[in-house]
Symmetry: D2
Subunit: 135 residues, 4 copies
């Protein structure tokens, strides 16, 4: 299994909380941004889909926090994706740079809502297909 | 001139940054939430208006930061509003509780966009009218 | 098993994203704020502990998203806590008001760092003890 | 007068609110991040200074919102700085890319607190000196 997308980012000071480390909730922001950038690369705009009544929504998220990021840290956010019936499962890991130390491991299960109903979005499926992890 | 709306809130730890005080941007969140709750009280839902193509947007904001809020602090966010031609001008001040120490003073100039064009929203005007500060 | 703490909150519009629903990351903010308020009630200040070199940190979080919250929604955030060796495990569920519809179910595993090292904080343990869920 | 620092960024979807545009408070995040990156380039770490009891704090901010940023937009955040007695005044403007349309104009007045007292930080002064706008 290998990553199909990587995005480099840098901690912004407002993301750090009074413990002096990146607040946990911001890792969800990091991995959401990474997914959306990956989708854009695959030809899928999250905002455009929403305009057309199609919403990719997160059904479940699991995050293990390994090493906290701090002010000034750079990091790379990596992504793999698999298909499990109606779910698209994203495995998203973040590594600190330059030492590649693991920051978080996460799994994000997403489903597709078409006008609010659970469904299969053929267009999304076709665009994502080349990226699926088939082990 | 007097305040026409007040909302009590409490600092949430994730709003504090590595200086151990509420990050500046969060005061804009506090005053936005206060305006929207005030509008709701006046019978105006920001989200419903958006659905109908009417957006109240902020044209300009000025904030003076006087005393920083910290973890555990409670505060009250107070609001006055005046009309200045097509602008609604909100004066929004925050005071720490229980000592009523001034936290921020702010002025928020808003205008109304109707389907993206600057305009006067009669409905909004009528609902806000009883609250205008006429000195 | 029963909840030992409950906190009522209301969606703030800035917490909603372009899908018109509360952005996923904000649920982590809601449950963090709920934990910290619960700890305060138990006599534990997250900010004070940090000053003394003791940090309760989240090792793992799992969130299942059931019903999205929208602009104007009120909700109650409920919490149970158990002890599992060095971990404090918080079960935190959010229900929409007034219909009590389940919004999210979550589990948050936390550990205690004393000057950066994994440890058992006797003070924290004593204060939390009365609240542990012993089934 | 000319800009002494520029930083390119891209809108992240979680920064957009239910109006489908970047929430106003996030522009304060953008300009804070730009200032801190500028300070780093000048040899000043905001986080390190805080550790040594020196805090650069914002006394006043004025922002004029001209064109809203949307999902997918890239932009450049530009900065000038002047000295006005104990204040460092940052002029920070954001332009959408690639059309260079003005997004916001802002002025941020900052002061230096040394162990909580208003003061002049000689070290900061020396490092910033080469960048001051002297018209």
């Amino acid at each position: 299994m290998k990553y199909v997308y990587e995005l480099k980012m840098k901690v912004r000071d407002y993301e750090c909380d009074l413990q002096g480390i990146v607040n946990n909730a911001n890792y969800q922001h990091y991995i959401e941004h990474t997914r959306h950038e990956f989708l854009l690369k695959a030809g899928i705009s999250f905002a455009d889909m929403h305009q057309r009544g199609i919403d990719a929504v997160v059904a479940r998220v699991k995050i293990s926090f390994k090493t906290p990021l701090k002010s000034g840290d750079e990091f790379v956010s990596k992504l793999r994706v698999t298909k499990d019936r109606v779910k698209y499962v994203f495995y998203q890991d973040i590594f600190r740079l330059p030492d590649e130390k693991l920051v978080i491991k996460s799994q994000v299960d997403t489903v597709c809502l078409i006008n609010g109903e659970l469904g299969v979005c053929a267009e999304l499926e076709e665009l994502l297909e080349p990226f699926f992890d088939k082990e």
